[in-house]
Symmetry: C2
């Protein structure tokens, strides 16, 4: 637990939230990432009182993650001198397909390989508090809508491009999650220039192979082995895009190719949904060079849709802010005693 660290911040996430109340108590938002677990404690008006984070690099099983969530929540409550029963709800964003109705993480890929984990019940049992779980990209979309680039926008798509690619789809102000919770899993999208060979279980999808972080790295290494010894082979996607902005021609080729593939995927999503706005997030998606180049590529196809791309305003905080919002929305309107929650979980 030597990687654990605390951050004490006093920042306002949600200044004028519809969920804000002056009720006593507090909520916790959690972002379960592949490398970090991040928690934020907020009061009932949505103001973040403190944060907590820990590495998840060596962890795989849900039990260890649940223990960290509990430790973090208790540590933050102690930090603000609040008793355990001041905690009204917890919302947890996880990197995988999540059954929100039943609080079950159906599957995660890449990092932990969870299958059918009843995360809500497990955390409720530990903390005797209302728990909601959702996909992390959906959480990020909620965060951007509450306090970020899509503030007050009713129809938009949050597109997370990191190692994987996923979309959080907001239609008429609400998340569209799909009939089996996989809406927005566009990392598998088939676009011209990407492979149409079906992905195997645990493998990245066709689009991810091209423009996910690892995909871009792999293509860089292919380009690099073709000649440009002046640049390191171990560059990641954002290094490469930085070099493209500096004028390196190989990096520019890869930026242009990535932007074109991304634009094709966004155009396809847009043909289906006709959403006017796409918010690009995730470590790769946040890069300004990618956003600009993708908008330029996208502007070729103006019929019958012409969506606008903007970068996430919240960055890596989008998931966490969305989780705080989800926690606030989940607070039971009538306070329920811990005993009741214990018996219902």
């Amino acid at each position: 637990m030597e990687t654990m660290r605390r951050e004490i911040e006093k920042i306002v996430v949600v200044e004028e939230t519809t969920h804000a109340t002056t009720e006593p108590g507090c909520v916790v938002g959690v972002d379960v990432g592949g490398t970090n677990l991040r928690l934020a404690l907020a009061d009932m008006s949505g103001t973040i009182l403190t944060r907590w984070s820990s590495s998840t690099v060596a962890l795989r099983g849900p039990e260890a993650v649940i223990q960290l969530v509990c430790s973090g929540a208790k540590s933050m409550l102690q930090e603000v001198a609040a008793p355990l029963d001041a905690l009204r709800s917890i919302a947890i964003g996880v990197p995988g397909v999540t059954d929100v109705d039943n609080g079950i993480v159906i599957a995660t890929s890449y990092l932990m390989g969870w299958r059918d984990v009843p995360l809500r019940a497990l955390v409720e049992k530990e903390l005797n508090v209302t728990v909601v779980v959702d996909n992390d990209v959906n959480m990020a979309a909620m965060g951007e809508q509450e306090a970020g680039s899509a503030k007050d926008v009713k129809d938009f798509v949050f597109l997370a491009i990191g190692t994987g690619i996923g979309a959080g789809i907001v239609l008429n102000g609400k998340l569209h999650r799909g009939s089996s919770w996989t809406a927005g899993e566009i990392g598998y999208m088939l676009v011209p220039g990407a492979s149409e060979v079906p992905a195997k279980s645990e493998e990245p999808g066709s689009l991810e192979t091209m423009i996910g972080g690892e995909g871009i790295k792999a293509q860089w290494q292919k380009l690099w082995s073709g000649g440009d010894a002046a640049l390191p082979t171990e560059f990641n996607a954002t290094d490469i895009f930085d070099r493209a902005l500096d004028g390196n021609p190989h990096a520019q080729v890869l930026l242009r190719q990535s932007a074109t593939m991304l634009a094709r995927a966004i155009y396809n999503v847009s043909l289906v949904l006709n959403c006017p706005l796409f918010v690009l997030g995730g470590t790769v998606g946040m890069h300004p060079a990618l956003c600009d180049a993708a908008q330029k590529a996208l502007d070729q196809w103006i019929i019958p849709v012409s969506p606008r791309l903007i970068r996430s305003a919240l960055g890596t905080d989008a998931q966490l802010f969305g989780a705080v919002r989800a926690a606030l929305e989940a607070v039971p309107s009538c306070p329920v005693s811990p005993a009741v929650w214990a018996s219902s979980s």
Copy 2:
């Protein structure tokens, strides 16, 4: 007007509709097609009392179409010996992008090239009755949900494949039309194997060029010029698919190719929406060989979605039945005098 004909049928469209009432009066559903205008008169329980149709081949402007709608409606009322004021509402499905809120046909392609036609106001002025207009594929989706292959299904996509390709998207029981009324315009979708060159105005989209009726014909002619003089060059898509079922190898190549492209497009739509069911309609989409071959192709990609394909149960009546349903839903709950409608239109 020599092509005008009347059909007198007594069929029940909607046996147990939620919109069915025993109120007096009747409604009219209209399907404006590129070659035919079709009308159905139904009582307030959704039972179709009579039908009327006319050719639209020589017509281009909205005025002539509106006059035909009025003639047809009056003729049907006369047919069932009902006075003009028995008519409570009319719903009109048009082959183009339609602003449902304002009753404006923004654009039609191929056949009539309408631009910003205030169809609702124009028909209301003529008939002093509540009018609704919507895209014909959306109408067809409503028809299939009311009385066809998607009966009582809350999440599905109706996919019309004829000369053009379009999708009617039903999410949580309601049509999703998009922020500028173009949701589901997937005839432009970019999939591997199709052109990524942007379509020009008035031109078919990338996917339509491959698997729309005209696209399939064009590819058949290309194949044919390569050698198979035993089959006519003027075959249309359904002729070709029939021959594929008969074992003709060239026709089988084209069927397989069309099915693969269709499966890629459906997979992409499914990644976005995660809808479990796709209903295939339209003259090309209705062909059983295409549906079977597309399902087979689609079953290659099982991660993370595996939608089921079925053929439209209503066929060319889907639009008309959907329009009858839309007309029933549009009936004002308090009967309004014709004079009020005249002043508000």
